[in-house]
Structure formats: structure tokens, C-alpha cells
């Protein structure tokens, strides 16, 4: 009996290492091979041509400068805002604290491409709604605030990365040991001085971690650089790579791979620094065992001014994009809201979208990828998390590192890597290619909630079930699975919403017949079909929301407390 159990485990770990290893290492290896080869169809012989071609490009210098400014700038915006919000929420008596939870979660459900598009609709120089509005004011007739610029990109990307930075900073601040601050005050430090001399330095690892994660995100970002950067002819590495594979006949995957290599290397380095910081961070941020809440700082007169900043931010992050898109989907062309505009409203764009076969196909594909992909991804995550948390052998350490690797994957680069693999298989241009790519890139989003769920299932809980006479099947059914349900649900929600809105990887892997929502929206944006784009975008938000509700309902069906007998 025991013998067979040992056997099962010893098969499980290598199998998972093989699967996850394939998912994460395969695209990297293919990318490396591809960058040294002559073409996509056949590797040909070993050559450095693509590197020479890619790195002697005279435009590359400017692109790298743009990338650095964009990535650093947006990460500073994201971390700064997140710090501000986290501090207000965890340490002060600011009202309506529930808003902070909303700010930290809802934007994850609004696809990045739609968020970017809504800013284009508001602030593009020719007919952005805000520009149109301001031009009505005498003296501003020639005004054109231009979103198609580096500051515009930085602002939008910063807002997009805000939630993830907040999710790292808020818990760190909440678990901060208040005694450190109190002793500073006893020594005569003012609130502000304490903040800058004690609180922020102690939180430095968490702040750095949030900053680095934002760097990785913005380096991988494609939505903002493509929707906002490209029309203004501002290229960063992601769009530069995209250009070399997207220009019709002259698509050059080799050059894309050669440049992608440096992006990937940077990204992996950053992620390992991040990982080091978060494991180090636990030493710094002391969780107070005495368990009382940090004292709340009274904002007094600053309370409502500060709150209005938070209110405006949540408007900008959540309400505005949806509102702008919905409005745009109803009016025939860009015009500021007025009686005339309302009288011209119609469902025309919606009807066009519903009658557009490619849009419908993309809807169908994205729903399929969201539901099936998330389900498969969560199943894999359950096993991976189990091995990482419960088996704790040398091999499980390897598995953890492997599954963590994809955290650093810039979608477009990994897409290029996968292309080299898929063209050699019958999977090429099928929906399964996208599915595999998605799971590979987003695996950590499933593994993390499940790993923390497994941590909560103390081994004694399983063992006492065995002592009570339950076999491993009953123990699984009545003890382990019910305790995992919350983790499974949140893993599924995360994966499903990410898959429904996936753009960066899909823009490389999607072929005619396997269009997905975000790519279709991207095409609409390229063609300037804002009305149809908005209609499809609203549908996309509906689908994401519906999936979240569905998963939550299913999770509630397995109530945490068993009733009666």
C-alpha cells in the first residue's frame, strides 16, 4: 500500500516537470534556435545573420531609448500611485475604504487594449472627446492634447500596472510592525518624518518588488505601445518586434527572435531579482505577532481632498473606459455628448459586429479559450501546486522554478518562440496552439492561488481523516477538494479573464480562422473602426464579467460549511 503510494508520487513529479518544462522551456529553446537560423520553415544552418541584421538597424538606438523611458516612467507612475493608495487605505482614516478593493481588482477585468483605446478616444489630437470639448472654449480652438506621445503612453501604462503594484504593497503595509513607527515618534519624529525615515525604508523591499514587477509588465506590454505608440510613430521593443513579423510578405521571424532574446533576458533577470526581493522581504517586513491593527493616522482637513483624488482615480480606472466605449459604440462618429449626439445614437455598430463573421468567430474562440483553457490550466496548476507545497523534494524545487519562469515571459517574444515550434507540428494555426501558449504564459496565475490554498491544508487535516478510517479517495473528496475550492475558483477566474482578453501572444500566434477578441479589436483600431471596436469591446467586458460571476456561483455551490449529515 505504502509502496504503491511512493510509486505514484515518484511518477507525478517527473511527469509534471516534463509538462511544465515543455511549456516553459520549449519556447525559449525554439527562440534561441530560431535566432541563429535562416528561416521559419527550415532552420537551415547556424548563422549570426539575424543578430547582425537586428542589432545594426540604425533605428534600434532610438527604440531602446524610447523603451527605457517608457518602462521606467510607467513603473514610477504605477508604483508611486500604488504607494499613495496603499498608504491611505491601510494607515489612515480615509472614508469609503471599499473603493480601494475595487480599484485593485476591477481593472484586471478591463482588457488593457480597451483601456488604451478609451484613452485614444478621449485624447487623440484630431477628434478626441476631451480635445473636442476643450476646443469649444474660446481661446483653445487650436488645442490638441496628443495621447500619441511618450508621456501619453507612460500615463496609460502606469494606470494599467497600478493594480498589480497595489496588490504587492497593500499587504506589506498592512502587516507593518507599528512599534517601529511608534519608537520613531517617541524619539520626536513627526508623522511625515517618520514616513520618510522609517516606514518607507523598512518597506523598501516591497516597494522595489512592486517597481520591478511593473518594469516586467511594461516591458512586455503590447496594448499601449501598439494602440497609442504606433499611431504616433513611437516604437518600443515590443512594437518593433511586432513590426518585423507583421509586415506582410517580408515577415522576418529570425530578426524578431534575435531582438526578442535581449527582451527575454532582461525580463528573466528582473523576475529573478523580484523573486529574491520577495523572499528577502519576508525578513524585513515583520508581521506583528501581537495581532493588533496598526494605529490609524487621522487625516483631519486633508481627508476629503485626498479622498477626491482616490475618487477621481477610480473613475478614470473603471467608469471612464466603459462609459467612453459604450458611448462610442452608439454614436455614428466621434462627437462630444450633446442633444444632437443623443438623437443620432443607434445600434448600428452593434449590428455590424453581430453580422461580421470574423468578429463572431473571435467571440466564439475567446470564450472557448477562456473556459477550456482556464479549466485545463487550473487542473495542471492543482497538481503543480500540490507537488510544490506538499512534496517539497529537490525535484519539486525544480518544478517551482520552471513554473515561475513564465512569470517573466513577454508575450510577443514567447509567441515568436512558439511559432518556431508550432510550424513544425499539426497544431499550427489551430486554436490548440493558442491554448498551449496561453497556459504556458499564464501558468503562475493559476499556481499561485492554488499553492496558497494548499498551504492552508495542513497535512494533519488529511492524516486525521485517514486515522478516522477514510481511504485516500474519501479524504480527497471530503477534505482536500472542499478546502481547495476557493483557490481553484480564484485561479480559474484569473486565468479565464486573462485568456479572454489575451492580446500579446495572440497577435503572433493567431492566424485566419483562429482570431480572438483582442486581436480583432486591435485590427479594428488599426483600421480606425472605433464604433465597431467599442461594441465588440463592451461584449468582451460582458463575457469576462459573466465568467467571473459563473465561477463565483459554482464556487458557492460547494459551500465552505457542510450542512446537516
Amino acid at each position: 500500500m505504502e509502496k504503491t503510494m511512493v510509486k505514484k508520487r515518484s511518477v507525478l513529479t517527473p511527469t509534471l516537470i516534463a509538462i511544465v518544462g515543455f511549456l516553459t522551456v520549449c519556447p525559449i529553446v525554439m527562440l534561441v534556435f530560431g535566432s541563429f537560423s535562416t528561416g521559419l520553415g527550415a532552420f537551415g544552418e547556424f548563422t549570426l545573420d539575424k543578430y547582425i541584421l537586428g542589432y545594426t538597424d540604425p533605428e534600434l538606438g532610438g527604440i531602446i531609448v524610447n523603451t527605457i523611458i517608457f518602462v521606467l516612467g510607467s513603473s514610477m507612475v504605477a508604483t508611486g500611485l500604488a504607494l499613495f493608495l496603499a498608504y491611505l487605505n491601510t494607515r489612515t482614516d480615509i472614508p469609503f475604504k471599499f473603493l480601494f478593493r475595487i480599484i485593485s481588482i476591477i481593472p484586471m477585468m478591463i482588457p488593457h487594449i480597451l483601456f488604451s483605446v478609451s484613452w485614444v478616444l478621449l485624447l487623440n489630437p484630431s477628434n478626441g472627446l476631451i480635445n473636442l470639448f476643450l476646443r469649444q472654449i474660446p481661446g483653445f480652438e487650436d488645442l490638441a492634447i496628443n495621447i500619441y506621445s511618450l508621456p501619453g503612453m507612460i500615463l496609460v501604462e502606469g494606470l494599467l500596472d497600478l493594480p498589480i503594484a497595489y496588490l504587492i504593497l497593500a499587504p506589506a503595509m498592512a502587516s507593518f510592525d507599528i512599534a517601529l513607527e511608534e519608537s520613531s515618534k517617541v524619539c520626536g519624529g513627526t508623522t511625515l518624518r517618520t514616513l520618510f525615515r522609517v516606514t518607507l525604508p523598512v518597506l523598501r523591499p516591497a516597494i522595489l518588488a512592486a517597481f520591478i514587477l511593473s518594469l516586467v509588465r511594461s516591458l512586455a506590454s503590447f496594448a499601449v505601445p501598439s494602440v497609442i505608440g504606433m499611431p504616433g510613430r513611437i516604437y518600443v521593443l515590443a512594437t518593433h518586434i511586432y513590426q518585423s513579423i507583421a509586415t506582410g510578405f517580408a515577415a522576418d521571424f529570425g530578426k524578431a527572435a534575435a531582438i526578442g532574446m535581449s527582451v527575454l533576458a532582461t525580463s528573466i533577470t528582473l523576475i529573478y531579482i523580484y523573486r529574491y526581493l520577495t523572499s528577502e522581504g519576508e525578513k524585513y517586513v515583520t508581521i506583528s505577532s501581537r495581532g493588533y491593527r496598526p494605529t490609524v493616522i487621522e487625516l483631519k482637513g486633508a481627508k476629503y481632498p485626498l479622498f477626491s483624488v482616490v475618487g477621481i482615480l477610480s473613475m478614470i480606472l473603471i467608469v471612464l473606459p466603459v462609459l467612453v466605449l459604450f458611448y462610442t459604440s452608439l454614436v455614428p462618429y466621434s462627437m462630444i455628448p450633446s442633444a444632437k449626439a443623443f438623437s443620432m445614437m443607434s445600434w448600428k455598430h452593434w449590428i455590424e459586429v453581430v453580422n461580421d463573421p470574423i468578429s463572431l468567430l473571435s467571440l466564439k474562440n475567446s470564450v472557448f479559450l477562456g473556459v477550456v483553457g482556464a479549466t485545463l490550466g487550473v487542473m495542471l496548476s492543482v497538481f503543480v501546486a500540490y507537488v510544490i507545497v506538499k512534496i517539497r523534494s529537490h525535484a519539486s524545487g525544480i518544478l517551482e522554478s520552471l513554473s515561475f519562469l513564465s512569470f517573466s515571459f513577454p508575450g510577443i517574444v514567447i509567441g515568436v518562440g512558439f511559432m518556431w515550434f508550432f510550424v513544425r507540428t499539426p497544431l499550427y494555426a489551430t486554436i490548440w496552439a493558442l491554448l498551449i501558449g496561453y497556459i504556458a504564459t499564464y501558468l503562475p496565475y493559476g499556481v499561485r492561488p492554488l499553492a496558497s490554498a494548499f498551504v492552508q491544508v495542513h497535512s494533519h487535516l488529511e492524516e486525521s481523516s485517514q486515522v478516522c478510517g477514510a481511504g485516500s479517495f474519501t479524504t480527497m473528496r471530503r477534505i482536500v477538494i472542499p478546502l481547495l475550492i476557493p483557490g481553484i475558483v480564484s485561479g480559474w477566474i484569473l486565468m479565464a479573464t486573462m485568456f479572454v482578453r489575451e492580446l500579446t501572444l495572440s497577435v503572433v500566434l493567431s492566424r485566419p480562422g483562429t482570431e480572438v477578441l483582442a486581436v480583432q479589436i486591435f485590427r479594428f483600431a488599426e483600421d480606425g473602426l472605433w464604433g465597431q471596436l467599442s461594441a465588440l469591446g463592451i461584449m468582451m467586458i460582458f463575457i469576462s464579467t459573466a465568467l467571473v460571476l459563473l465561477a463565483t456561483l459554482v464556487g458557492m455551490k460547494f459551500k465552505p460549511v457542510e450542512e446537516g449529515e
Binding site: 500500500m1 505504502e2 509502496k3 495542513h458 494533519h460 487535516l461 492524516e463 486525521s464 481523516s465 485517514q466 486515522v467 478516522c468 478510517g469 477514510a470 481511504g471 474519501t474 471530503r478 477534505i479 472542499p482 478546502l483 465552505p560 460549511v561 457542510e562 450542512e563 446537516g564 449529515e565
Partner: protein, 362 residues
């Protein structure tokens, strides 16, 4: 039910080193008594317990519960935990947070496919027994530490196992509750006439709760006996030291007499409890419990086992004086009746009954 353990060994391999968690343990646990495994942290108590329930697979050995061999590495027998029919209370209690009290307690009966009405009546009876009547519908997460402990006990008892095992079940309770629960537990277990194996590193818990104590060290059983016997007649230095506060003094055997063994040590020549297995010249350790060192008044010179010392420190703790005395440069702990009129700095004579001078080896 009696439990027999033969030559049980369990090794762990970590970082290239082999840890002998259990080193060839042989043990016989009598039926229907409270048997305690006592030992310092890391000595292998939990490992032994887990081997008995079957949560750990030993490297070698044999375990017999009643007439059933549940483990024999020689005959390749391993009865899985769920078929051993035991009850166990974990250190963390392992109350399932997603179930209410009723389902937690009913679980062992449900896995054994007992009819529902019998389950209900048995759970009720057991909850009444552990004084948790009316808690059936309470979610498990809304229980105090002491209540969780009793739910865990109820769950271990409900299927009427012949053997129940406890792994430091009181270590998560505060001092007062721990004392009360210890008393209750002894009453419960004696009333039930059940074989109980109890693991603890707390000597007072072990002494006051058990019928038999086995002291463990480094994966081995050092000594087994009734609490009083172990306390008063330990044979090993480790046991004497671990089971209670004591003075340990290196000594050399000078002679074996009819009723006593005499030794020489730093505080002089003492007549000790007779130990036949040592001979003059052997190095032994003298064990003097503080509470057996008494003040000796009047003429001291002709009496046996009298030594003169100076009082170095003295603390009044209510029921006694605790302190240290200096005798020829060695220090001894003493514990003496609270009405003594001694003070720090006084010189006084002290005496110990030879029967309380214990000679221990190793």
C-alpha cells in the same frame, strides 16, 4: 488492547545525513492503561506515534496491535492507517474548518458506513461525554482552543477504538486550561478503559496523567516505569535529570555494604540507596532531589549523611523556600519547608536519607 513493538527503526535522510528518528525501539504497551512517551524535543516521540497509526512507514521492525500484526517489514505487511481502527488527537487538533462540529465528530462513523440514526445518537453521546452538548451545528472555525481540543477528542473516541493516541494535545492551551484538561482527560480515559498512548515533553503532564511513563532520548527508549517509580528510582542519569529538578554530582563508589552503597563525592562521603550492579571504584552520578535535602538541627557529628553548607541564595515561593547552598565549592539546590528561620549567609547542617541518595549511571 496490548501493543507490541519490536526492533522498530525509522531513518530520515536530509542534506546527505541520516537522522535516526527511531533507533531499534522495542516496547510493550499494556492494555487499558495510559502510557506516556516523554522526552526532549526531537527525540522521536511523534515519529513513534506516527509509526503506530501508520502515517509513517518504518525502515525495519514489527508492530502488533492486539492480535493483529499491522506492520512487519520482514513479512512485508503494512496495514494502511484507515484500516487500523485507531483514534488519534493531533497536536494541531486538525479540526476540519469546512465542517461543523457534528460532521467533524461523525466523520469516523460515516467512513465506516454506520447507519444515520446510530451516527446521530453516538455523536450526541460522545459530545455529551466531552461536555460539548448543543455544539453540533457550530462551525468548526468558531470554537475556542479548549473546545477544539474536545472536538478532536470526541472525534477520536466516537468510533470506540481500542487504542487512542495523543500527540501533545495540551500544548496549545494556556496554563490554567491545560491543568484542568489534564485532570479531565485522566478521568475520561480511566472511565473508558481504553489503551491510551500519550506523547508529551512536559514531565509534570507525564507524571500526573499516566499509569506508565517511557522516557525517550535520541530515538531510543531509555527507561519505562510507573511515574513514582521513575521519579524515585531512575537508573539513568538522563532520566533522573529529565523527570525532575535535581542535583547531579559525580561520585566514586567506595564500598558496598549490606543495605547501602557508599560513595565519595565533592560534598563528602555519603551512604546511598543500595545498587548491586556496581562495584567499588566505579564512577557513578549521585542524584539528590532538592526536596529531600533537609535542615539538620542539633548535634550533627555522629549522624549519617550530614554535610555543612552556607546558604548562598534563598527565595520564598509560598509553599517552600527554594535556594542554593555552597558545600566545599559545589552548589546544591534545596527546597525546604517555609517556616525555617534560615537566612542568606547562615551556615547550617543538612542531611539526606540514604534512601533518597540515588546512584545513576551513564
Amino acid at each position: 488492547m496490548e501493543i507490541k513493538i519490536k526492533n522498530l527503526s525509522k531513518y530520515y535522510y536530509s542534506g546527505g545525513k541520516t537522522i535516526k528518528a527511531l533507533d531499534n525501539v522495542s516496547l510493550s504497551i499494556p492494555a487499558n492503561r495510559i502510557f506516556t512517551l516523554l522526552g526532549p524535543s526531537g527525540c522521536g516521540k511523534t515519529t513513534l506515534l506516527r509509526c503506530i497509526v501508520g502515517l509513517e512507514a518504518p525502515d525495519t521492525g514489527e508492530i502488533e496491535i492486539g492480535d493483529d500484526v499491522v506492520l512487519s517489514t520482514e513479512k512485508n505487511i503494512f496495514v494502511p492507517t484507515e484500516n487500523r481502527g485507531l483514534g488519534m488527537v493531533f497536536q494541531t487538533y486538525a479540526i476540519w474548518p469546512h465542517m461543523n462540529v457534528f460532521n467533524n465528530v461523525a466523520y469516523p462513523l460515516q467512513t465506516r458506513k454506520v447507519p444515520k440514526d446510530i451516527i446521530r445518537s453516538k455523536v450526541e453521546k460522545t459530545l455529551r461525554f466531552v461536555q460539548l452538548e448543543g455544539f453540533e451545528d457550530r462551525p468548526a472555525t468558531k470554537l475556542s482552543g479548549g473546545q477544539q481540543q474536545r472536538v478532536a477528542l470526541a472525534r477520536a473516541l466516537v468510533a470506540e477504538p481500542k487504542v487512542i493516541l495523543f500527540d501533545e494535545p495540551l500544548s496549545n492551551l494556556d496554563a490554567k486550561l491545560r491543568e484542568e484538561t489534564r485532570k479531565d482527560l485522566r478521568v475520561f480515559l480511566t472511565e473508558l478503559q481504553i489503551t491510551a498512548i500519550y506523547v508529551t515533553h512536559d514531565r509534570i503532564e507525564a507524571l500526573s496523567l499516566s499509569d506508565i511513563v517511557a522516557v525517550m532520548n535520541k530515538g531510543q527508549i531509555v527507561e519505562t516505569g510507573e511515574p513514582r517509580n521513575i521519579y524515585l528510582n531512575a537508573n539513568h542519569r538522563f532520566v533522573a535529570d529529565f523527570i525532575g529538578r535535581t542535583n547531579l554530582i559525580e561520585a566514586t563508589v567506595t564500598s558496598q555494604e549490606e543495605s547501602v552503597t557508599t560513595v565519595d563525592c565533592a560534598i563528602g562521603r555519603l551512604a546511598c540507596r543500595k545498587r548491586a550492579d556496581i562495584k567499588p571504584g566505579d564512577r557513578v552520578t549521585l542524584c539528590l532531589r532538592p526536596e529531600f535535602i533537609r535542615l539538620k538541627r542539633g548535634n550533627a557529628s555522629e549522624a549519617q549523611n550530614v554535610f555543612n553548607g552556607q546558604i548562598k541564595s534563598l527565595v520564598f515561593i509560598g509553599e517552600a523556600f527554594e535556594g542554593e547552598i555552597t558545600i566545599h565549592e559545589s552548589q546544591l539546590f534545596i527546597k525546604t519547608e517555609p517556616h525555617s528561620d534560615i537566612e542568606v549567609g547562615d551556615r547550617a547542617n543538612f542531611t539526606v536519607d540514604p534512601d533518597h541518595c540515588l546512584l545513576v549511571t551513564r
